[in-house]
Protein backbone atom coordinates (compact mmCIF):
# COMPACT_ATOMS: atom_id res chain seq x y z
CA UNK A 1 0.00 0.00 0.00
CA UNK A 2 1.33 3.42 -0.84
CA UNK A 3 0.68 6.40 1.30
CA UNK A 4 -1.22 9.12 -0.53
CA UNK A 5 -1.58 11.64 2.27
CA UNK A 6 0.45 11.91 5.42
CA UNK A 7 -0.47 14.48 8.03
CA UNK A 8 1.93 14.94 10.94
CA UNK A 9 1.64 17.13 14.01
CA UNK A 10 -1.06 19.20 12.37
CA UNK A 11 -2.17 22.23 14.34
CA UNK A 12 -4.74 24.77 13.25
CA UNK A 13 -5.78 28.19 14.40
CA UNK A 14 -8.74 30.47 13.80
CA UNK A 15 -7.31 33.83 14.76
CA UNK A 16 -5.41 33.04 17.93
CA UNK A 17 -7.56 30.09 19.00
CA UNK A 18 -5.91 26.75 18.50
CA UNK A 19 -8.50 24.13 17.51
CA UNK A 20 -6.29 21.25 16.33
CA UNK A 21 -3.54 20.26 18.73
CA UNK A 22 -1.21 18.08 16.69
CA UNK A 23 -2.95 15.52 14.53
CA UNK A 24 -1.35 12.51 12.83
CA UNK A 25 -3.41 10.93 10.07
CA UNK A 26 -2.76 8.94 6.91
CA UNK A 27 -4.73 8.11 3.80
CA UNK A 28 -3.56 5.08 1.84
CA UNK A 29 -3.91 4.99 -1.91
CA UNK A 30 -7.16 3.45 -3.11
CA UNK A 31 -8.71 3.41 0.34
CA UNK A 32 -11.51 5.21 2.07
CA UNK A 33 -10.58 6.74 5.40
CA UNK A 34 -13.20 8.08 7.76
CA UNK A 35 -12.73 10.86 10.28
CA UNK A 36 -15.37 10.63 12.98
CA UNK A 37 -16.17 12.88 15.87
CA UNK A 38 -18.83 14.89 17.64
CA UNK A 39 -19.91 18.46 16.89
CA UNK A 40 -17.04 20.88 17.17
CA UNK A 41 -14.37 18.18 17.40
CA UNK A 42 -12.45 19.75 14.51
CA UNK A 43 -13.35 17.50 11.58
CA UNK A 44 -14.14 20.33 9.17
CA UNK A 45 -11.06 22.16 10.36
CA UNK A 46 -8.90 19.13 9.58
CA UNK A 47 -10.12 19.07 5.98
CA UNK A 48 -9.72 22.82 5.67
CA UNK A 49 -6.20 22.55 7.03
CA UNK A 50 -5.22 20.06 4.37
CA UNK A 51 -6.32 22.65 1.77
CA UNK A 52 -5.10 25.65 3.77
CA UNK A 53 -8.61 27.02 3.43
CA UNK A 54 -9.81 29.70 5.88
CA UNK A 55 -7.42 28.57 8.59
CA UNK A 56 -3.79 28.97 9.67
CA UNK A 57 -1.85 25.77 10.13
CA UNK A 58 1.34 24.28 11.56
CA UNK A 59 2.85 20.83 11.14
CA UNK A 60 3.40 18.95 7.93
CA UNK A 61 1.11 17.71 5.18
CA UNK A 62 2.64 15.41 2.57
CA UNK A 63 0.68 14.51 -0.54
CA UNK A 64 2.07 11.95 -3.01
CA UNK A 65 5.44 12.32 -1.38
CA UNK A 66 5.48 16.09 -1.65
CA UNK A 67 5.11 18.64 1.12
CA UNK A 68 2.04 20.74 0.34
CA UNK A 69 1.68 22.67 3.59
CA UNK A 70 3.43 25.65 2.06
CA UNK A 71 1.24 25.60 -1.08
CA UNK A 72 -1.67 27.95 -1.62
CA UNK A 73 -5.24 26.60 -1.62
CA UNK A 74 -5.33 26.87 -5.42
CA UNK A 75 -2.06 24.97 -5.81
CA UNK A 76 -3.23 22.20 -3.49
CA UNK A 77 -6.37 21.82 -5.59
CA UNK A 78 -4.30 21.69 -8.77
CA UNK A 79 -2.02 19.07 -7.21
CA UNK A 80 -5.00 16.71 -7.09
CA UNK A 81 -6.95 17.32 -3.89
CA UNK A 82 -10.70 17.63 -4.50
CA UNK A 83 -12.62 19.20 -1.64
CA UNK A 84 -16.36 18.84 -1.14
CA UNK A 85 -16.67 21.51 1.49
CA UNK A 86 -18.83 22.02 4.49
CA UNK A 87 -21.91 23.85 3.16
CA UNK A 88 -21.38 22.32 -0.31
CA UNK A 89 -19.85 25.39 -1.95
CA UNK A 90 -22.50 25.62 -4.66
CA UNK A 91 -22.17 28.38 -7.26
CA UNK A 92 -25.76 29.39 -6.75
CA UNK A 93 -26.18 31.65 -9.77
CA UNK A 94 -24.65 29.25 -12.28
CA UNK A 95 -26.43 26.32 -13.87
CA UNK A 96 -25.86 22.82 -12.56
CA UNK A 97 -23.83 21.95 -15.64
CA UNK A 98 -21.72 25.07 -15.35
CA UNK A 99 -20.97 24.03 -11.77
CA UNK A 100 -19.73 20.71 -13.09
CA UNK A 101 -17.71 22.25 -15.90
CA UNK A 102 -16.01 24.46 -13.33
CA UNK A 103 -14.62 21.36 -11.69
CA UNK A 104 -12.76 20.64 -14.91
CA UNK A 105 -11.73 24.24 -15.64
CA UNK A 106 -8.02 23.49 -15.74
CA UNK A 107 -8.26 20.38 -17.89
CA UNK A 108 -7.35 20.59 -21.56
CA UNK A 109 -8.55 17.11 -22.56
CA UNK A 110 -11.91 18.31 -23.81
CA UNK A 111 -13.31 15.02 -25.01
CA UNK A 112 -12.37 13.27 -21.75
CA UNK A 113 -14.10 16.08 -19.87
CA UNK A 114 -17.29 15.45 -21.82
CA UNK A 115 -17.03 11.73 -21.06
CA UNK A 116 -16.56 12.50 -17.38
CA UNK A 117 -19.58 14.77 -17.47
CA UNK A 118 -21.67 11.95 -18.86
CA UNK A 119 -20.26 9.57 -16.25
CA UNK A 120 -21.22 12.01 -13.49
CA UNK A 121 -24.72 12.10 -14.95
CA UNK A 122 -24.79 8.33 -14.85
CA UNK A 123 -23.89 8.35 -11.16
CA UNK A 124 -26.33 11.17 -10.47
CA UNK A 125 -29.21 11.01 -12.99
CA UNK A 126 -31.03 13.71 -11.03
CA UNK A 127 -28.30 16.16 -12.01
CA UNK A 128 -28.79 15.37 -15.66
CA UNK A 129 -32.45 16.25 -15.42
CA UNK A 130 -31.51 19.53 -13.77
CA UNK A 131 -28.44 20.33 -15.83
CA UNK A 132 -29.75 23.66 -17.13
CA UNK A 133 -31.35 24.72 -13.88
CA UNK A 134 -29.84 27.43 -11.68
CA UNK A 135 -27.90 25.54 -9.02
CA UNK A 136 -29.35 27.63 -6.19
CA UNK A 137 -32.76 26.11 -6.90
CA UNK A 138 -31.57 22.52 -6.44
CA UNK A 139 -32.59 20.64 -3.31
CA UNK A 140 -30.06 20.02 -0.55
CA UNK A 141 -29.46 16.46 -1.69
CA UNK A 142 -29.03 17.54 -5.29
CA UNK A 143 -26.57 20.23 -4.27
CA UNK A 144 -24.62 17.63 -2.31
CA UNK A 145 -24.48 15.41 -5.39
CA UNK A 146 -23.46 18.43 -7.43
CA UNK A 147 -20.61 19.19 -5.03
CA UNK A 148 -19.31 15.63 -5.19
CA UNK A 149 -19.57 15.48 -8.97
CA UNK A 150 -17.96 18.90 -9.34
CA UNK A 151 -14.96 17.79 -7.32
CA UNK A 152 -14.69 14.52 -9.27
CA UNK A 153 -14.70 16.45 -12.56
CA UNK A 154 -11.20 17.65 -11.69
CA UNK A 155 -10.01 14.00 -11.58
CA UNK A 156 -8.53 14.37 -8.09
CA UNK A 157 -6.43 11.59 -6.60
CA UNK A 158 -7.75 12.47 -3.15
CA UNK A 159 -11.34 13.45 -2.42
CA UNK A 160 -12.12 15.23 0.83
CA UNK A 161 -15.78 14.83 1.75
CA UNK A 162 -17.20 16.98 4.51
CA UNK A 163 -20.39 15.48 5.96
CA UNK A 164 -22.19 14.49 2.79
CA UNK A 165 -25.15 13.38 4.93
CA UNK A 166 -25.62 16.75 6.59
CA UNK A 167 -29.22 17.91 6.70
CA UNK A 168 -30.48 15.21 4.33
CA UNK A 169 -33.31 12.74 4.70
CA UNK A 170 -32.22 9.14 5.50
CA UNK A 171 -33.24 7.91 2.05
CA UNK A 172 -31.16 10.53 0.31
CA UNK A 173 -28.22 9.75 2.59
CA UNK A 174 -28.48 6.11 1.61
CA UNK A 175 -28.57 7.10 -2.04
CA UNK A 176 -25.44 9.17 -1.71
CA UNK A 177 -23.52 6.49 0.17
CA UNK A 178 -24.55 3.89 -2.40
CA UNK A 179 -23.21 6.14 -5.12
CA UNK A 180 -20.01 6.71 -3.16
CA UNK A 181 -19.50 2.96 -3.08
CA UNK A 182 -19.79 2.91 -6.88
CA UNK A 183 -17.45 5.87 -7.14
CA UNK A 184 -14.81 4.21 -5.01
CA UNK A 185 -14.84 1.09 -7.14
CA UNK A 186 -15.05 2.85 -10.51
CA UNK A 187 -12.98 6.01 -10.08
CA UNK A 188 -9.31 6.01 -9.28
CA UNK A 189 -9.74 8.14 -6.22
CA UNK A 190 -8.95 7.78 -2.55
CA UNK A 191 -11.34 9.32 -0.07
CA UNK A 192 -11.10 11.03 3.28
CA UNK A 193 -14.62 11.36 4.59
CA UNK A 194 -15.78 13.33 7.60
CA UNK A 195 -19.02 12.17 9.15
CA UNK A 196 -21.17 12.41 12.22
CA UNK A 197 -23.16 9.55 10.79
CA UNK A 198 -20.56 7.04 11.97
CA UNK A 199 -22.54 3.99 10.93
CA UNK A 200 -22.74 4.99 7.27
CA UNK A 201 -19.14 6.18 7.21
CA UNK A 202 -17.78 2.97 8.73
CA UNK A 203 -19.66 0.89 6.20
CA UNK A 204 -17.91 2.75 3.41
CA UNK A 205 -14.46 3.16 4.96
CA UNK A 206 -11.50 0.83 5.31
CA UNK A 207 -9.96 2.66 8.23
CA UNK A 208 -11.16 5.32 10.60
CA UNK A 209 -9.90 7.95 13.00
CA UNK A 210 -11.77 9.30 15.96
CA UNK A 211 -11.32 12.97 16.73
CA UNK A 212 -12.18 14.58 20.08
CA UNK A 213 -11.64 18.30 20.69
CA UNK A 214 -8.77 18.65 18.29
CA UNK A 215 -6.96 15.38 19.08
CA UNK A 216 -7.03 11.93 17.51
CA UNK A 217 -8.06 9.59 20.30
CA UNK A 218 -8.40 6.33 18.39
CA UNK A 219 -7.73 4.83 15.03
CA UNK A 220 -7.93 1.47 13.39
CA UNK A 221 -9.70 -0.52 10.72
CA UNK A 222 -13.40 0.09 10.32
CA UNK A 223 -14.12 -3.35 11.76
CA UNK A 224 -12.02 -2.60 14.86
CA UNK A 225 -13.78 0.70 15.31
CA UNK A 226 -17.19 -0.85 14.94
CA UNK A 227 -16.37 -3.34 17.64
CA UNK A 228 -14.85 -0.81 20.01
CA UNK A 229 -17.06 -0.36 23.06
CA UNK A 230 -16.44 3.35 23.44
CA UNK A 231 -17.13 4.02 19.77
CA UNK A 232 -20.30 1.93 19.91
CA UNK A 233 -21.61 3.74 22.92
CA UNK A 234 -20.76 7.26 21.82
CA UNK A 235 -21.12 7.19 18.04
CA UNK A 236 -23.18 4.22 17.06
CA UNK A 237 -25.74 4.62 19.83
CA UNK A 238 -25.64 0.98 20.89
Amino acid sequence: MTRLLEVQGLKAWYGSTEVLHGIDLNVEEGQVTALLGANGAGKTTTLRSICKHLVRIGGSVTFRGERIDNYSTEQIAMAGVGHVPDGRGTFLGLSAEENLRLGAHARRDRSAVLEDLERMYSYFPRLKERRAQQAGTLSGGEQQMLAIARALMGRPSLLLLDEPSFGLAPLVVRDIFDIMRRVRSEERVSILIVEQNARAALELADTAYLLETGRIVKHGTSADMRNDDAVRRAYLGE
Binding site: E74, P85, G89, L92, L94, L102, T137, S139
Partner: protein
Protein backbone atom coordinates in the same frame (compact mmCIF):
# COMPACT_ATOMS: atom_id res chain seq x y z
CA UNK B 1 -40.73 68.18 -39.21
CA UNK B 2 -41.77 67.42 -35.64
CA UNK B 3 -41.50 63.76 -36.41
CA UNK B 4 -38.09 64.17 -37.93
CA UNK B 5 -36.70 65.93 -34.85
CA UNK B 6 -38.14 63.19 -32.71
CA UNK B 7 -36.53 60.40 -34.72
CA UNK B 8 -33.26 62.28 -34.85
CA UNK B 9 -33.22 62.72 -31.11
CA UNK B 10 -34.17 59.10 -30.63
CA UNK B 11 -31.26 57.98 -32.81
CA UNK B 12 -28.85 60.35 -31.13
CA UNK B 13 -30.04 58.92 -27.84
CA UNK B 14 -29.34 55.39 -28.98
CA UNK B 15 -25.85 56.43 -29.99
CA UNK B 16 -24.90 58.06 -26.70
CA UNK B 17 -26.83 55.27 -25.03
CA UNK B 18 -24.39 52.80 -26.53
CA UNK B 19 -21.57 54.63 -24.80
CA UNK B 20 -23.44 54.65 -21.49
CA UNK B 21 -24.19 50.98 -21.95
CA UNK B 22 -20.50 50.14 -22.36
CA UNK B 23 -19.45 52.12 -19.35
CA UNK B 24 -22.35 50.74 -17.32
CA UNK B 25 -21.17 47.28 -18.28
CA UNK B 26 -17.70 48.09 -16.98
CA UNK B 27 -19.21 49.28 -13.69
CA UNK B 28 -21.32 46.14 -13.37
CA UNK B 29 -18.38 43.84 -14.05
CA UNK B 30 -16.42 45.33 -11.22
CA UNK B 31 -19.45 45.47 -8.97
CA UNK B 32 -20.21 41.80 -9.50
CA UNK B 33 -16.68 40.79 -8.62
CA UNK B 34 -16.02 43.14 -5.71
CA UNK B 35 -19.31 44.74 -4.66
CA UNK B 36 -17.76 48.14 -5.15
CA UNK B 37 -18.77 50.84 -7.59
CA UNK B 38 -15.69 52.13 -9.32
CA UNK B 39 -16.28 55.88 -9.29
CA UNK B 40 -12.98 56.33 -11.11
CA UNK B 41 -14.16 54.35 -14.15
CA UNK B 42 -15.02 57.50 -16.10
CA UNK B 43 -11.74 59.25 -15.38
CA UNK B 44 -9.83 56.09 -16.29
CA UNK B 45 -11.65 56.11 -19.63
CA UNK B 46 -10.83 59.78 -20.09
CA UNK B 47 -7.16 59.10 -19.38
CA UNK B 48 -7.18 56.24 -21.89
CA UNK B 49 -8.65 58.56 -24.50
CA UNK B 50 -5.78 60.98 -23.92
CA UNK B 51 -3.37 58.12 -24.50
CA UNK B 52 -5.12 57.40 -27.80
CA UNK B 53 -4.90 61.08 -28.68
CA UNK B 54 -1.18 61.16 -27.95
CA UNK B 55 -0.63 58.05 -30.07
CA UNK B 56 -2.55 59.60 -32.96
CA UNK B 57 -0.57 62.83 -32.56
CA UNK B 58 2.59 60.74 -32.73
CA UNK B 59 1.50 59.65 -36.18
CA UNK B 60 -0.10 56.25 -35.65
CA UNK B 61 -3.10 55.39 -37.84
CA UNK B 62 -6.42 55.61 -35.97
CA UNK B 63 -7.13 51.90 -35.62
CA UNK B 64 -3.58 51.09 -34.54
CA UNK B 65 -3.84 53.75 -31.86
CA UNK B 66 -7.25 52.37 -30.95
CA UNK B 67 -5.92 48.84 -30.52
CA UNK B 68 -2.86 49.98 -28.59
CA UNK B 69 -5.04 52.07 -26.28
CA UNK B 70 -7.33 49.15 -25.55
CA UNK B 71 -4.35 46.99 -24.66
CA UNK B 72 -2.71 49.69 -22.53
CA UNK B 73 -5.99 50.38 -20.74
CA UNK B 74 -6.42 46.69 -20.04
CA UNK B 75 -2.99 46.69 -18.42
CA UNK B 76 -3.78 49.86 -16.52
CA UNK B 77 -6.95 48.35 -15.05
CA UNK B 78 -5.19 45.13 -14.12
CA UNK B 79 -2.28 46.91 -12.44
CA UNK B 80 -4.68 49.14 -10.54
CA UNK B 81 -6.50 46.12 -9.16
CA UNK B 82 -3.27 44.50 -8.09
CA UNK B 83 -1.55 47.54 -6.65
CA UNK B 84 -4.38 49.62 -5.22
CA UNK B 85 -7.58 47.66 -4.82
CA UNK B 86 -6.31 44.25 -3.69
CA UNK B 87 -4.53 45.56 -0.61
CA UNK B 88 -7.89 47.04 0.42
CA UNK B 89 -9.85 43.80 0.38
CA UNK B 90 -10.44 43.84 4.11
CA UNK B 91 -10.90 47.59 4.42
CA UNK B 92 -14.28 49.01 5.41
CA UNK B 93 -16.67 50.09 2.64
CA UNK B 94 -16.18 53.80 3.25
CA UNK B 95 -12.42 53.74 2.89
CA UNK B 96 -12.78 51.93 -0.42
CA UNK B 97 -15.13 54.65 -1.62
CA UNK B 98 -12.60 57.25 -0.55
CA UNK B 99 -9.87 55.44 -2.48
CA UNK B 100 -12.04 55.36 -5.60
CA UNK B 101 -12.69 59.08 -5.32
CA UNK B 102 -8.97 59.58 -4.75
CA UNK B 103 -8.24 57.63 -7.93
CA UNK B 104 -10.74 59.77 -9.78
CA UNK B 105 -8.90 62.91 -8.74
CA UNK B 106 -5.49 61.42 -9.47
CA UNK B 107 -6.46 60.54 -13.04
CA UNK B 108 -8.11 63.91 -13.47
CA UNK B 109 -5.09 65.93 -12.40
CA UNK B 110 -2.65 63.59 -14.10
CA UNK B 111 -4.42 64.09 -17.43
CA UNK B 112 -4.40 67.87 -16.97
CA UNK B 113 -0.77 67.84 -15.97
CA UNK B 114 0.48 65.61 -18.78
CA UNK B 115 -1.79 66.62 -21.65
CA UNK B 116 -2.90 70.13 -20.68
CA UNK B 117 -6.38 71.31 -19.82
CA UNK B 118 -7.38 73.02 -23.05
CA UNK B 119 -10.06 71.28 -25.04
CA UNK B 120 -8.81 69.12 -27.90
CA UNK B 121 -10.43 67.69 -30.94
CA UNK B 122 -10.53 63.94 -31.14
CA UNK B 123 -11.05 62.27 -34.49
CA UNK B 124 -13.88 59.92 -35.34
CA UNK B 125 -12.90 56.78 -37.27
CA UNK B 126 -16.14 57.02 -39.22
CA UNK B 127 -15.78 59.57 -42.05
CA UNK B 128 -18.51 62.20 -42.40
CA UNK B 129 -19.39 61.02 -45.89
CA UNK B 130 -19.48 57.31 -45.09
CA UNK B 131 -22.18 55.31 -46.83
CA UNK B 132 -23.84 54.35 -43.56
CA UNK B 133 -24.70 57.92 -42.60
CA UNK B 134 -28.05 59.47 -43.41
CA UNK B 135 -30.30 62.39 -42.73
CA UNK B 136 -31.35 60.86 -39.43
CA UNK B 137 -27.96 59.79 -38.13
CA UNK B 138 -24.38 60.81 -38.66
CA UNK B 139 -21.88 58.09 -39.54
CA UNK B 140 -20.27 58.54 -36.14
CA UNK B 141 -23.56 57.84 -34.41
CA UNK B 142 -24.13 54.72 -36.49
CA UNK B 143 -20.53 53.65 -35.90
CA UNK B 144 -20.84 54.17 -32.15
CA UNK B 145 -23.91 51.97 -31.93
CA UNK B 146 -22.13 49.35 -33.99
CA UNK B 147 -19.05 49.44 -31.76
CA UNK B 148 -21.20 49.17 -28.64
CA UNK B 149 -23.00 46.17 -30.10
CA UNK B 150 -19.67 44.54 -30.92
CA UNK B 151 -18.47 44.95 -27.34
CA UNK B 152 -21.67 43.48 -26.00
CA UNK B 153 -21.48 40.53 -28.38
CA UNK B 154 -17.81 39.88 -27.61
CA UNK B 155 -18.34 40.01 -23.86
CA UNK B 156 -21.41 37.83 -24.06
CA UNK B 157 -19.54 35.21 -26.06
CA UNK B 158 -16.57 35.38 -23.73
CA UNK B 159 -18.51 35.01 -20.48
CA UNK B 160 -21.02 32.54 -21.82
CA UNK B 161 -19.00 30.21 -23.96
CA UNK B 162 -15.40 30.17 -22.78
CA UNK B 163 -13.95 28.39 -19.77
CA UNK B 164 -12.05 31.50 -18.75
CA UNK B 165 -15.29 33.49 -18.80
CA UNK B 166 -16.97 30.83 -16.69
CA UNK B 167 -14.17 30.82 -14.12
CA UNK B 168 -14.34 34.61 -13.93
CA UNK B 169 -18.05 34.44 -13.16
CA UNK B 170 -17.40 31.72 -10.60
CA UNK B 171 -14.65 33.69 -8.88
CA UNK B 172 -16.95 36.71 -8.65
CA UNK B 173 -19.80 34.67 -7.17
CA UNK B 174 -18.07 32.39 -4.74
CA UNK B 175 -14.36 33.07 -4.25
CA UNK B 176 -13.93 30.49 -1.48
CA UNK B 177 -15.41 27.63 -3.43
CA UNK B 178 -13.48 28.77 -6.52
CA UNK B 179 -10.16 28.52 -4.70
CA UNK B 180 -10.98 24.96 -3.67
CA UNK B 181 -11.31 24.16 -7.38
CA UNK B 182 -7.92 25.69 -8.08
CA UNK B 183 -9.24 28.89 -9.65
CA UNK B 184 -6.88 31.80 -9.03
CA UNK B 185 -9.36 34.31 -7.76
CA UNK B 186 -6.85 37.17 -7.60
CA UNK B 187 -5.93 36.70 -11.23
CA UNK B 188 -9.61 36.67 -12.21
CA UNK B 189 -10.15 39.99 -10.45
CA UNK B 190 -7.19 41.48 -12.28
CA UNK B 191 -8.64 40.26 -15.55
CA UNK B 192 -12.01 41.77 -14.69
CA UNK B 193 -10.47 45.13 -13.94
CA UNK B 194 -8.45 44.93 -17.12
CA UNK B 195 -11.56 44.21 -19.18
CA UNK B 196 -13.44 47.04 -17.51
CA UNK B 197 -10.54 49.39 -18.25
CA UNK B 198 -10.49 48.30 -21.89
CA UNK B 199 -14.24 48.75 -22.32
CA UNK B 200 -14.04 52.17 -20.70
CA UNK B 201 -11.30 53.15 -23.14
CA UNK B 202 -13.50 52.26 -26.11
CA UNK B 203 -16.38 54.26 -24.61
CA UNK B 204 -14.03 57.21 -24.13
CA UNK B 205 -12.78 57.09 -27.71
CA UNK B 206 -16.33 56.95 -29.01
CA UNK B 207 -17.60 59.84 -26.94
CA UNK B 208 -14.59 62.15 -27.39
CA UNK B 209 -15.37 63.19 -30.99
CA UNK B 210 -18.78 64.37 -29.76
CA UNK B 211 -17.95 66.11 -26.50
CA UNK B 212 -14.30 66.98 -27.34
CA UNK B 213 -11.37 65.85 -25.28
CA UNK B 214 -10.63 67.40 -21.94
CA UNK B 215 -10.09 66.08 -18.42
CA UNK B 216 -13.70 66.70 -17.46
CA UNK B 217 -15.26 65.00 -20.46
CA UNK B 218 -16.35 61.80 -18.70
CA UNK B 219 -17.86 63.24 -15.54
CA UNK B 220 -21.33 63.57 -16.99
CA UNK B 221 -21.00 60.39 -19.00
CA UNK B 222 -20.19 58.40 -15.88
CA UNK B 223 -23.27 59.72 -14.12
CA UNK B 224 -25.47 58.64 -17.03
CA UNK B 225 -23.75 55.28 -17.14
CA UNK B 226 -24.26 54.88 -13.43
CA UNK B 227 -27.94 55.70 -13.87
CA UNK B 228 -28.09 53.09 -16.62
CA UNK B 229 -26.44 50.48 -14.44
CA UNK B 230 -28.78 51.23 -11.56
CA UNK B 231 -31.89 51.14 -13.74
CA UNK B 232 -30.92 47.76 -15.12
CA UNK B 233 -29.80 46.41 -11.77
CA UNK B 234 -26.24 47.02 -10.70
CA UNK B 235 -25.47 43.31 -10.67
CA UNK B 236 -27.00 42.51 -14.04
CA UNK B 237 -24.98 42.94 -17.25
CA UNK B 238 -27.99 42.65 -19.56
CA UNK B 239 -29.82 45.17 -17.43
CA UNK B 240 -26.86 47.53 -17.58
CA UNK B 241 -26.84 47.47 -21.37
CA UNK B 242 -30.58 48.08 -21.68
CA UNK B 243 -30.37 50.67 -18.91
CA UNK B 244 -27.56 52.47 -20.70
CA UNK B 245 -29.49 52.69 -23.97
CA UNK B 246 -32.64 53.74 -22.14
CA UNK B 247 -30.85 56.54 -20.32
CA UNK B 248 -29.34 57.76 -23.58
CA UNK B 249 -32.76 57.96 -25.22
CA UNK B 250 -34.46 59.51 -22.19
CA UNK B 251 -31.68 62.06 -21.82
CA UNK B 252 -32.10 63.22 -25.40
CA UNK B 253 -35.88 63.24 -25.52
CA UNK B 254 -36.33 64.89 -22.15
CA UNK B 255 -33.54 67.33 -23.00
CA UNK B 256 -35.24 68.27 -26.24
CA UNK B 257 -38.85 68.39 -25.21
CA UNK B 258 -39.00 69.04 -21.50
CA UNK B 259 -36.10 70.53 -19.60
CA UNK B 260 -33.68 71.81 -22.26
CA UNK B 261 -30.01 70.88 -22.64
CA UNK B 262 -28.78 72.82 -19.61
CA UNK B 263 -30.74 70.66 -17.22
CA UNK B 264 -30.14 67.34 -18.97
CA UNK B 265 -27.67 66.09 -16.41
CA UNK B 266 -30.18 66.48 -13.65
CA UNK B 267 -32.37 64.01 -15.53
CA UNK B 268 -29.78 61.35 -14.77
CA UNK B 269 -29.68 62.32 -11.13
CA UNK B 270 -33.45 62.24 -10.86
CA UNK B 271 -33.47 58.81 -12.52
CA UNK B 272 -30.88 57.54 -10.06
CA UNK B 273 -32.90 58.75 -7.10
CA UNK B 274 -36.17 57.40 -8.43
CA UNK B 275 -34.67 53.97 -9.06
CA UNK B 276 -33.03 53.86 -5.66
CA UNK B 277 -36.30 54.76 -3.97
CA UNK B 278 -38.79 52.78 -6.03
CA UNK B 279 -36.87 49.71 -7.09
CA UNK B 280 -33.42 49.49 -5.54
CA UNK B 281 -32.64 46.18 -7.27
CA UNK B 282 -33.19 47.79 -10.69
CA UNK B 283 -35.68 46.76 -13.35
CA UNK B 284 -33.86 43.51 -14.02
CA UNK B 285 -32.14 43.17 -10.65
CA UNK B 286 -31.22 39.57 -10.41
CA UNK B 287 -32.48 37.34 -7.71
CA UNK B 288 -30.31 34.37 -7.02
CA UNK B 289 -32.78 31.85 -5.83
CA UNK B 290 -31.64 29.75 -2.99
CA UNK B 291 -33.58 27.02 -1.35
CA UNK B 292 -32.96 26.74 2.31
Amino acid sequence: MMMETFVQQLMAGLSTGGIYACLALALVMIYQATHHVNFAQGEMAMFSTFIAWALIQAGLPYWVAFGATVVISFGMGAVLEFAVIRPLHKAPELSVVVVFIGLLMVFHSLAGWIFGTQIKEFPSPFPKDAWFGGSMMSPHQVGTIFVAMCIVALLFTFFRFTTLGLTMRAAAQNPGSSRLLGIRVGRMLMLGWGLAGAIGAVAGMMVAPVVFLDPGMMTGVLIYAFAGALIGGIDNPVGAILGGFLVGVLENLIGTYIVGTELKLSVALVLIIVVLVVRPAGLLGRHIVQRV
